[in-house]
């Protein structure tokens, strides 16, 4: 068993790493349990054009490496593995990674969100065989083919635009009659001759045995079903918060988002703070996540000080 830390940070996207930078500079010697796929959702993106400070944009993975280096520079200690279990019912709080136990006076949760799936058996079966949630990872394998993206938000439209680098045609399938994506992204897609829109359309099934060969679709306005031959399906229908670790211990809303109170990052347990996409279902930007990570570190530092003052 290890010594009791001042703060453990769970999750290493923009929220967690910003919290680490602030906590480390406040001499809290944070322990960051960063996960196997550290760096969060930006690791799966290409060009980030809206993070302040980068006139020409920056690649998502490069931005995350930079933030990680910055957190390390001030003394953040990293564990590159996933948390299996936490116990916030007693103090110090306890966090398990496999059979390793870590103890801490405070915890900052920044576990982010994970891409939602359609929840079709055929989608599960063909994951990695043409079904993908990562255009930047897998688009390359479908050069010259017709492929599909399902979704209508920023990430769906960004993926569709990106995939036109490889695909002959990208079919964008959306269950509504207009995009939820920001105007600049939507305009870019509308102007892209390689993107074909399928409005008011849902995916009923992914077709194919060993690999994706097509999609069974239904037009929800006419009820007419059809088959679309494509070599791949990229799923971009939104995200779910990564909060299952905390079920039964911290207050979550009906969609699983971590509840924080009073305009702060305080959760339902004093000394546990929440930041980034695991809390935020409204803005969900790298910069808002980073901002809330900063808030969490400051809230945490002040709380630790108040505990310390009370002890004397």
């Amino acid at each position: 068993m290890s010594d009791v830390r001042d703060v453990i940070i769970i999750g290493s996207g923009p929220a967690g790493l910003t919290a680490a930078i602030y906590a480390a500079r406040a001499n809290l010697a944070p322990l960051m349990i960063e996960g196997v796929t550290w760096g969060g959702q930006l690791q799966l993106t290409t060009e980030v054009e809206n993070f302040p400070g980068f006139v020409d944009g920056i690649m998502g993975p490069e931005l995350m490496q930079t933030l990680r280096d910055q957190a390390a520079r001030f003394g953040t200690e990293f564990v590159t593995d996933n948390v299996d279990r936490v116990d916030f019912s007693a103090r110090p709080f306890r966090v398990w990674v496999g059979d390793r136990e870590f103890r801490s006076h405070s915890v900052i949760i920044s576990t982010g969100a994970t891409a939602k799936m359609l929840d079709l058996p055929s989608e599960q079966r063909l994951l990695g065989h043409g079904v993908s949630t990562c255009a930047t990872c897998d688009g390359f394998f479908f050069r010259g083919q017709e492929i599909a993206v399902v979704g209508g938000g920023d990430s769906a439209v960004e993926e569709a635009n990106f995939l036109t680098r490889f695909a002959s045609t990208v079919h964008l399938i959306h269950r509504r009659d207009s995009l939820r994506a920001s105007k600049i992204m939507a305009d870019r897609a509308a102007a892209n001759p390689k993107i074909t829109f399928h409005w008011n359309t849902v995916v009923d099934e992914v077709l194919g045995d060993g690999r994706v060969e097509g999609l069974a679709l239904t037009d929800t306005t006419t009820g007419v079903s059809s088959t679309l031959p494509v070599g791949a399906l990229f799923v971009a229908i939104g995200h779910d918060p990564n909060s299952s670790l905390f079920t039964g211990q911290l207050a979550l809303d009906e969609n699983g988002y971590l509840l924080t109170s009073g305009g702060s990052t305080s959760t339902s347990i004093e000394g546990v703070f929440g930041s980034g996409d695991v809390v935020d279902h409204v803005y969900r930007q790298a910069i808002t996540a980073a901002g809330s990570g900063c808030q969490a570190a400051i809230d945490c530092e002040r709380w630790l000080e108040s505990q310390h003052a009370g002890a004397h």
Partner: protein
């Protein structure tokens, strides 16, 4: 191969994989794949700790499209374990060392 990892290419693939006395885990990866970079250090550790039991090899899919196509790699990272030159197990996506060692248990026992 200072780090104990064999670098494969389209040209050397068959010879290297077929002639190995141990199972060969081939990591299909690319420079632009974030999750591939994350598992690289895990694979390097396994290469060192299980040297003699399993050979860890990597193949850049950008430079070597033929091997990737032959084994229907459509998502990276994909790890394929070859036993006696034949694919015996296929793992898709990044995972931690613990989970990976469990998946490889039959080859490194």
């Amino acid at each position: 191969m200072a780090d104990g990892i064999v670098t494969l290419s389209d040209a050397t693939f068959d010879e290297s994989v077929a002639s190995s006395d141990t199972p060969v885990l081939v990591d299909f990866w690319a420079e632009w794949c974030g999750p591939c970079k994350m598992i690289a250090p895990v694979l390097a550790e396994i290469a060192t700790e299980y040297a003699g039991k399993i050979t860890i090899a990597k193949l850049n899919v950008d430079d070597n499209p033929n091997a990737a196509r032959r084994f229907d790699v459509m998502s990276i990272p994909t790890l394929i374990v070859f036993k006696d030159g034949v694919p015996a197990k296929r793992l898709v996506g990044a995972k931690g060392k613990g989970a990976l060692l469990q998946d490889l248990a039959e080859f490194i026992a």
